[in-house]
C-alpha cells in the first residue's frame, strides 16, 4: 500500500487526494424560470440652479420625480431579443409649478447582443412619447420616433469598467413643430466598484439636436457623477450631481444647469 507519511518531503504533507475534506459535489443543472416581465419604480429629489433650463432669469428649485415602468423582454432567436416597455413619470417643482409635467413613454425594441463584435448590444426601436401637464389633463407633446443604438460594456478589471453608447433618435411624427427633431448622442461612463454593493460612476453625454421645422441646432454636454448603493439586487439608492451646458445656434436656447439630488430605485422581475 502507498505510504502517506507526513514526514515526506522534508516534513511537508505529501501530495494526496486522500479524503473527503471538500465533500461531494453533485452537479445541478440550471433551468432558470423564464421571467420576461419587469417592473420598476424610481423616486428622486433634485435640486437645480436653473430649473427651467433657460439662458437668462434662472431660478433655483427642487424637483420631485416619480417614475413607474413595466417591461417585457423575451429571447426570440439566438442572441436576438424583443423588448416592450411602457413607463409613466410625474415631475413636480416646489416653487415653479408651471413647470410640472408628466411623461409617458412606450417603446418596442429589437436587441442584438452581438458576440462577433465584442458583445456589443445593438438596439432598434420605435417609441411613443406623450408629455402632459395639469395633472394629465393637457397634452403638451405627442411624438413617435425611430431609434438606433449601440452600446458596449468594457470591463477593465473587477472594480473598473467603461460603458460606451452611441444613439440616434429620429422623430417620425411630432405634434409640436418647434421640437420636431433628430438626436444623435454619445455616452461615455466610467464605473468604479468601491465595494460589491457600492459604486461610483462618472459620465459624459454629448447630444446633437437637429430641429426639422425650425432653424435650430443644439449641442448639449452633460457631465455627471453618481454614487450608487445596491443593498439588494432589486434596490438601489443613489446620489447624483450633474452639469449641463447647451450650446444652440440660437442664443436664446443656450443654458447652463447644475443639478444634484438623491434617489431610490426598485426593480423586479417576474
Amino acid at each position: 500500500m502507498r505510504s502517506r507519511d507526513l514526514g515526506e518531503e522534508n516534513g511537508f504533507a505529501s501530495a494526496s487526494e486522500a479524503d473527503d475534506d471538500l465533500g461531494q459535489q453533485l452537479i445541478l443543472k440550471e433551468t432558470p424560470k423564464n421571467r420576461p416581465f419587469r417592473a420598476s419604480m424610481d423616486q428622486f429629489f433634485l435640486w437645480s440652479n436653473n430649473a427651467a433650463n433657460v439662458a437668462s432669469g434662472e431660478q433655483t428649485d427642487w424637483m420631485w420625480g416619480q417614475r413607474v415602468g413595466l417591461g417585457w423582454q423575451q429571447k426570440i432567436a439566438g442572441h436576438w431579443f424583443a423588448d416592450v416597455s411602457v413607463s409613466q413619470g410625474m415631475y413636480r417643482y416646489r416653487k415653479t409649478s408651471a413647470l410640472d409635467f408628466e411623461a409617458m413613454e412606450a417603446m418596442a425594441s429589437i436587441l442584438d447582443v452581438e458576440p462577433r463584435f465584442w458583445n456589443v448590444v445593438l438596439v432598434g426601436s420605435f417609441g411613443f412619447t406623450r408629455i402632459t401637464n395639469n395633472e394629465f389633463q393637457d397634452s403638451l407633446l405627442n411624438s413617435i420616433s425611430g431609434r438606433l443604438g449601440a452600446q458596449r460594456l468594457i470591463v477593465l478589471d473587477r472594480k473598473n469598467s467603461i460603458q460606451v453608447a452611441l444613439g440616434a433618435d429620429w422623430d417620425l411624427t411630432n405634434d409640436v413643430e418647434q421640437v420636431f427633431r433628430d438626436e444623435y448622442s454619445l455616452d461615455i461612463a466610467y464605473k468604479y466598484k468601491v465595494m460589491r454593493d457600492l459604486s461610483l460612476s462618472l459620465g459624459y453625454r454629448l447630444t446633437h439636436f437637429n430641429y426639422r421645422d425650425v432653424p435650430r441646432s443644439d449641442l448639449l454636454h452633460v457631465i455627471g457623477a453618481t454614487v450608487s448603493y445596491t443593498p439588494k439586487n432589486w434596490m438601489e439608492v443613489y446620489a447624483t450631481a450633474s452639469y449641463a451646458l447647451n450650446n444652440s445656434n440660437i442664443d436664446f436656447f443656450d443654458y447652463e444647469t447644475t443639478s444634484s439630488g438623491v434617489g431610490l430605485g426598485m426593480k423586479l422581475k417576474f
Partner: protein, 654 residues
C-alpha cells in the same frame, strides 16, 4: 512550486488593521498537524500556537486544522495541505491542498491568487482546492467571489453561492461556473463537520444560501444531475442514484460479472452503504479519496449458489450455507479484493435488502485498529448490526476471515455468517473480548461459521448467541473459547474437533431444549475435549471415521437429559486421558474400544443412567483407570446390564 496566494486586499484599511492578517492562532487540530518554521525542523502543532512570520502549517493524511485571525477571518485546512504566512509581504499562502476561508462580511476581504488566477473574497465563505500540477477549484458556500485572470483582468466572473468554478492554473479564459448541491456538500465535507469543528461565523448567511438553493430546486429551476465529484479532484462520476438506476437494469448474468473492489478497502464509521447496491468508503489503498462502488443484489432462489454467484466456484462449497442463505431472501452483495472492517458503516437499508454480504477475494479482517495507512477516528472496533440489518455475511475466497482480539460484533437477533470459501482459508474468532466482555454478542441471533480449512475460536473469545453452527472442511479448534447458546451449539468437522484449555460450551436456556452436537467426520478425525466444560440439555459428540477417537481429559460434561459419546468407526475409540466428570440421567458411551488411562477416574454422577457399548473395555480392571461414582467408588459393570457389545441392537440411536 506554484503557490496559491491569499493577499490582504482591504477596501477600507481603517476597518481592518494592517497587522490583522499577519498572525493567526491555531484553534483546532485533528490528527497530524505540524508547524513548519522556515529552515527548521517541523514540530507538532497544538491549539493556541501562533502562526506568523515564515511559519507554515502542514497537515497529514486524515488531518485537519483551523486557524483564526484577530479579525475573525477563519481558515480551515484539509488533509495534506500546506499553509504558509509571510509577514514581510503580508501574504497568506496556500501552497497546496484544500482550505475553507471565511471572511466576515463587514471586513474588506482577502484575495486568493495563483500564477494566473485571482479570486477576490469579500464577506464570503468559500472552499478552495489547489493542485499545483493540475487545477484550481473554487466553491462558494455563501456570498460572492470575483474570479479573474491576472493577465487579462477584464476576463472576470462573479460567482455566487452554490457556484463551482474549476480551471487550470495557467488558464487563458475562465469557464462558466456550475451549480453544486450545497446541502450534499455540507453534509459530506469534513471541513464543515460539526463533529470536528465549531459553528462557522456566517451561519445565517450559509443557511440563507442553502435555503435559496433549496427553493430553486423545489421550483424546478435547479435539477439534480447524475454527475458527481466525490471530493477532491476533477473526476466526475455517476451519482449513487444514477448508479442504482443503472443497476436495476442489469441482468443477473451482468450482476454476476461485478469486479472486486481492487486493493485493500477499510470499512469503518465513515463508510456509507445503501443496500440497494452502492458503497462509498474513504480508505482504499489504490484509490485516493472516497471510493464509490456498486454492489449487486443476490437472490439465492434466482441466482443460484453463493459460491458460484460470488466466486464462480462450482460445485457449491457448502450446501448448508446456501440453504441457510436462502432463508433470508434478498441480499446486497459487495465484493472486495481485501477488506478491513474497523467500525460500523452507515447502513441505509430502508429501500434495499436488510441482508448484507461483504465478500473478500483475499483476507477479511475485523479489527479494533485501523490500517497504518488509514488512521481514522471512526475506528471503533465494533460492528453494530442493530436496526439496519437482519443478517450479515462476511466471506473470503482465498484468504482468512479473522475477528481480531477486542473486536465486537454486536446485535440482538441478527444472523451472522463468517465463511472462508476456498481450501486455504480459515475462519478465526479471536479473543480476548474487549471491554464489553464479548466478541460476538447477538443473544437472540444465529452465528454460522463455514471454513474451507479450519475454524478457530480462541484466546478467550466470548460468543453469546441463540444458535451457533460451525462447519469446517478440516478441523474445528476451540482454545480458551467461551461459547454460550440459548438453543444449539453444532460443530461438524470433516476432519477433527479440538476443545481445550479452559474452553466452555454451554447451551442453556429455561424454555428451550438446548443441545450441543459435535461431529468429526475424518477417517482419523478425533474429537478431543481437554480441560474444558460442556453443559446443556442434551450433549452429543461422535466421530464417524474408521479410526476416529473421542479423547477426553480434565473435563466436565453436564447435561439435563443425556450425554452420548460415540466413536462409530470400526476401529473407533473413546479414551479418557485425565479425570472427567459426566453428569446426566442418561450417559451412553459407544466405541469399539473404551479406555481409561491408568490412574484416571471418570466420575459418573448418576451411575444408574450409564451404559457402555464396547467390545474392548479397558477400564475398571488392572492397569486401567476406573469409572467411579460421586463418592469415588469404582462402578461395577455387568454385561447385559450396563456393559454391552459395541454393535448391540439395544444401543440407542445417536
Amino acid at each position: 512550486m506554484k503557490r496559491l496566494l491569499l493577499l490582504s486586499a482591504l477596501a477600507f484599511p481603517a476597518l481592518l488593521p494592517a497587522a490583522a492578517l499577519k498572525e493567526a492562532e491555531v484553534t483546532r487540530i485533528i490528527n497530524d498537524v505540524r508547524l513548519v518554521p522556515a529552515q527548521q525542523t517541523p514540530s507538532a502543532a497544538k491549539v493556541g500556537d501562533k502562526i506568523s512570520g515564515q511559519t507554515a502549517l502542514a497537515t497529514g493524511a486524515q488531518s485537519r486544522a483551523e486557524l483564526r485571525f484577530p479579525d475573525q477571518t477563519l481558515t480551515r485546512l484539509g488533509s495534506n495541505s500546506l499553509f504558509r504566512m509571510d509577514a514581510k509581504s503580508r501574504d497568506l499562502n496556500l501552497e497546496k491542498g484544500v482550505m475553507l476561508l471565511q471572511v466576515p462580511k463587514q471586513l474588506g476581504g482577502a484575495t486568493v491568487r495563483t500564477a494566473a488566477i485571482t479570486a477576490a473574497v469579500t464577506g464570503t465563505t468559500v472552499m478552495m482546492e489547489y493542485d499545483p500540477d493540475g487545477f484550481v477549484k473554487i466553491i462558494v458556500l455563501e456570498g460572492e467571489v470575483d474570479v479573474y485572470l491576472n493577465e487579462r483582468r477584464s476576463e472576470l466572473r462573479t460567482i455566487s453561492a452554490g457556484d463551482m468554478l474549476i480551471t487550470k492554473p495557467n488558464a487563458t479564459s475562465l469557464p462558466q461556473p456550475v451549480q453544486v448541491d450545497l446541502q450534499r456538500l455540507r453534509r459530506t465535507s469534513k471541513l464543515l463537520s460539526s463533529k470536528d469543528f465549531s459553528a462557522l461565523g456566517n451561519e445565517k448567511q450559509l443557511s440563507d444560501a442553502l435555503e435559496q438553493q433549496n427553493k430553486k430546486k423545489q421550483k424546478g429551476e435547479l435539477l439534480e444531475t447524475a454527475y458527481l465529484l466525490q471530493g477532491r479532484g476533477t473526476s466526475v462520476t455517476l451519482s449513487s442514484e444514477a448508479r442504482l438506476e443503472l443497476l436495476n437494469q442489469l441482468t443477473p448474468e451482468q450482476r454476476r460479472q461485478f469486479e472486486f473492489i481492487p486493493g485493500t478497502t477499510q470499512v469503518d464509521g465513515t463508510a456509507q452503504i445503501d443496500t440497494r447496491g452502492i458503497i462509498s468508503a474513504n480508505n482504499n489503498s489504490l484509490s485516493p479519496g472516497i471510493i464509490t462502488a456498486l454492489g449487486s443484489p443476490f437472490t439465492p432462489s434466482e441466482d443460484g449458489t453463493f459460491s458460484e454467484f460470488v466466486y464462480g466456484v462450482t460445485p457449491p462449497r457448502f450446501t448448508a450455507f446456501d440453504q441457510d442463505f436462502s432463508d433470508f431472501g434478498d441480499w446486497s452483495l459487495f465484493k472486495f479484493d481485501e477488506l478491513y472492517i474497523a467500525g460500523t458503516p452507515q447502513i441505509n437499508s430502508t429501500s434495499g435488502p436488510r441482508n448484507l454480504i461483504f465478500a473478500g477475494r483475499f483476507d477479511v479482517t475485523l479489527s479494533t485498529t485501523t490500517l497504518p495507512d488509514f488512521p481514522s477516528a471512526a475506528a471503533t472496533g465494533v460492528l453494530d448490526l442493530d436496526s439496519a440489518l437482519d443478517a450479515i455475511a462476511i466471506t473470503s475466497f482465498l484468504g482468512d476471515v479473522t475477528v481480531a482480539p477486542g473486536f465486537l460484533i454486536n446485535g440482538s437477533d441478527q444472523s451472522i455468517f463468517l465463511s472462508s470459501q476456498a481450501g486455504t482459508g480459515n475462519v478465526a474468532i479471536n479473543g480476548p473480548a474487549g471491554v464489553s466482555g464479548s466478541t460476538i454478542a447477538v443473544p437472540y441471533g444465529k452465528l454460522y461459521v463455514y471454513a474451507d480449512n479450519e475454524a478457530r475460536i480462541s484466546n478467550q473469545a466470548s460468543i453469546k448467541v441463540d444458535q451457533i453452527r460451525v462447519q469446517s472442511v478440516r478441523d474445528i479448534k476451540l482454545d480458551q473459547a467461551d461459547v454460550k447458546a440459548r438453543s444449539l451449539i453444532e460443530m461438524i468437522a470433516q476432519n477433527g474437533i479440538s476443545i481445550q484449555n479452559s474452553s466452555s460450551l454451554r447451551a442453556l436456556a429455561n424454555t428451550e431444549s438446548p443441545s450441543i452436537f459435535l461431529e468429526a467426520q475424518g477417517a482419523q478425525g478425533d474429537i478431543s475435549i481437554m480441560q474444558s466444560q460442556l453443559a446443556g440439555e442434551s450433549i452429543r459428540a461422535r466421530t464417524i471415521g474408521v479410526d476416529g477417537r473421542l479423547i477426553l481429559g480434565n473435563t466436565s460434561i453436564d447435561a439435563d437429559q443425556l450425554v452420548h459419546l460415540y466413536a462409530q468407526g470400526t476401529n473407533g475409540q473413546i479414551q479418557f486421558t485425565g479425570n472427567v466428570s459426566l453428569d446426566s440421567p442418561q450417559t451412553v458411551l459407544a466405541a469399539k474400544k473404551v479406555t481409561i488411562d491408568n490412574g484416571v477416574n471418570v466420575t459418573i454422577q448418576q451411575p444408574g443412567g450409564l451404559d457402555v457399548f464396547t467390545d474392548v473395555p479397558q477400564f475398571n480392571t488392572g492397569g486401567f483407570g476406573n469409572f467411579v461414582d460421586g463418592a469415588s467408588t469404582p462402578l461395577t459393570f455387568t454385561p447385559g446390564d450396563n456393559l454391552h457389545p459395541f454393535d448391540s441392537p439395544s444401543k440407542p440411536a445417536f
